[in-house]
């Protein structure tokens, strides 16, 4: 397989369009120095074993490829301790950090140091965040074989991002069938595969972890209730309650007739409780296609006395809000994809009543 750098060999671009920028001798020297430092650090750096993992937790780092360097607010700058922040598509990162058990165990082998930072267990799912530091540059991401096991069983996945030259953060998620109040976690990494396309050899080593995790104060309740109206159906899948918020995951299915006239169909949900409190919310995830979408929404803290949630699905049919990029990278406006003249249409479905399991 050809990687992008190889494929770019065959691509002729209009170089005349690019303009040189004035660069001082100082700038040149600075770039060279930074580059050589990076290259050398990957060649020669020896691990400083004396650095305790705990002290890493408060050290800020510079961001490489992963684009979080553009946060404007000082308090939004993530510190290593809150790796959950990198994986905020769960919408749970803040709550999970608050409810997680710090582990801070380190295993080092074959030029690769793995630190387990935090673990959180909600009764079904175990999430473990970790940091991987390598002596050599290994590419944009890594593949790790070996999942943390809950009482010696479970299936799971890894998500890994590179955050600095030779530093990655990852989150492993394992699910177990049985519910426990405290679990014994064993994690043995069999091997690591670097993402560098030309060098996909397995790196073997001895990285083993064993630790215990208590069930966090998080409950997940299955709901599985449907509503259907005018060619759109909604399924409320589950409700997750944490000490500081609650989350609802739901699906929408859109019929062909709707797609013929509108290029976008979105279902939002509004949530009230039996005291009439209306909960403010924001989306934390969304994925799918034209016909089928899954959404995740995070709501503010649940009133502890509430026993019933009233969910109102709100449908919006509209045309396409498209984004295109101009050559200079700026964004080009919106346009309608379909020839249809159908107007924007909004309607509400009947309420879905959910009893909160206590």
């Amino acid at each position: 397989m050809n990687d992008i750098y190889k494929l770019l060999n065959d691509l002729e671009i209009d170089i005349k369009k690019f303009e040189e920028m004035e660069v001082s001798e100082f700038d040149r020297a600075k770039v060279k120095k930074e580059l050589l430092n990076k290259i050398h650090s990957t060649k020669q750096k020896k691990w400083k074993n004396t650095v305790k993992a705990a002290s890493l937790a408060v050290s800020l780092f510079t961001f490489g490829i992963f684009g979080l360097s553009f946060t404007t607010n000082a308090e939004e700058i993530p510190i290593l301790g809150n790796i959950f922040k990198y994986f905020n598509n769960d919408g749970l990162y803040i709550d999970y950090k608050e409810n997680s058990n710090p582990i801070n165990e380190v295993a080092e082998s074959n030029g690769i140091k793995v630190t387990v930072n935090d673990a959180v267990y909600d009764g079904e799912k175990l999430m473990v965040t970790y940091t991987v530091e390598t002596e050599k540059y290994l590419g944009d991401t890594l593949h790790i074989n070996g999942i943390p096991l809950i009482e010696n069983e479970g299936n799971g996945t890894h998500e890994i991002f590179r955050i600095d030259e030779n530093k990655y953060v990852g989150k492993a998620t394992t699910s177990s069938k049985e519910k426990h109040s405290t679990i014994d976690v064993d994690w043995k990494l069999d091997y690591i595969i670097p993402d560098l396309t030309k060098d996909r050899e397995r790196i073997k080593g001895d990285w083993k972890f064993n630790f215990q995790v208590k069930k966090a104060d998080i409950t997940v309740q299955k709901i599985n209730q449907d509503k259907e109206m005018d060619g759109i159906s909604v399924n409320i899948e589950n409700l997750t309650i944490t000490p500081t918020s609650f989350l609802i995951n739901y699906k929408q299915v859109v019929s062909k007739e709707i797609i013929k006239d509108w290029d976008m169909a979105d279902v939002d949900i509004e949530v009230k409780d039996n005291f009439g409190n209306i909960y403010s919310s924001e989306f934390h995830s969304g994925s799918g296609g034209k016909y089928y979408m899954t959404w995740g929404k995070t709501f503010q803290m649940l009133d502890p006395h509430a026993s019933i949630l009233i969910i109102t699905p709100k449908v919006k049919l509209s045309d396409y809000d498209g984004i295109e990029y101009n050559e200079d990278g700026s964004i080009k406006g919106r346009y309608r994809l379909l020839k249809s003249k159908a107007d924007i249409k909004e309607f509400e479905m009947d309420e879905i009543i959910v009893e909160i399991e206590k």
């Binding site: 397989m1 050809n2 990687d3 992008i4 750098y5 190889k6 494929l7 770019l8 060999n9 065959d10 691509l11 002729e12 671009i13 170089i15 690019f18 303009e19 040189e20 920028m21 660069v23 700038d27 040149r28 770039v31 060279k32 050589l36 990076k38 290259i39 510079t62 490489g64 490829i65 992963f66 684009g67 979080l68 360097s69 553009f70 540059y137 991401t141 593949h143 790790i144 996945t157 890894h158 998500e159 595969i193 993402d195 560098l196 396309t197 290029d263 976008m264 169909a265 979105d266 989306f283 994925s287 296609g289 396409y320 809000d321 990029y325 101009n326 050559e327 990278g329 700026s330 080009k332």
Partner: protein, 188 residues
């Protein structure tokens, strides 16, 4: 021995550091110009510097993937610069979008988002490798270099309509494969 116009590629490919210094001397004004052109809306010099460093490091680490003479090298390093700068741009825009509204979650453009999400990962390259050479060019130009249809049509000497058509068909093809990959996530 020092790097010069005739030997710098060879020296770069065999990991000689003076070759890296040579290309910084020679191409920094251009690389910085390209990064600035794409990223200036963010008014963040740190981002531009980071992008410039990233471009040179990629050239250093992937030097062996280059194949050609010094005229072709200029084309190669410029296209890497454009691709990296666009990548930084998209990541930055994505972050802005997440905080401002839910536009980026709209279903209609999800295939682009899916592709961007796996951008620069081996999965996307696997997808692109399955396309015909002409479609590979079009997709790399569109997704990696951020070129619009007119520009692509111009560079390839084709009409705008035929490019649109190829993008449409290519996307359909990729969508099938992409959903397979996305279902599997990054699991190994």
């Amino acid at each position: 021995m020092k790097s010069n116009e005739t030997n710098f590629i060879k020296r770069l490919q065999s990991g000689k550091e003076d070759a890296l210094e040579y290309i910084v001397d020679k191409y920094l004004p251009l690389i910085k110009g390209i990064s600035y052109q794409v990223l200036s809306p963010f008014k963040n010099d740190g981002m531009i510097d980071e992008c410039v460093n990233d471009i040179f490091l990629s050239v250093w680490y992937y030097a062996k993937d280059f194949n050609g003479d010094s005229a072709k090298f200029k084309n190669w390093i410029c296209s890497i610069a454009k691709f990296k700068a666009i990548d930084y741009y998209r990541r930055a825009v994505k972050n802005v979008e997440i905080s401002s509204d839910n536009l980026e979650l709209s279903p209609a453009d999800s295939i682009e988002k899916d592709l961007v999400r796996i951008e620069n990962r081996s999965e996307l390259m696997q997808l692109i490798n399955q396309l015909e050479p002409i479609d590979q060019q079009i997709f790399i130009r569109k997704f990696f270099l951020g070129e619009n249809t007119e520009e692509i049509a111009y560079s390839l000497g084709k009409t705008k309509a035929s490019i649109d058509n190829r993008i449409y068909r290519g996307k359909k093809k990729l969508k099938v494969h992409a959903s397979d990959f996305l279902m599997g996530g990054s699991v190994v």
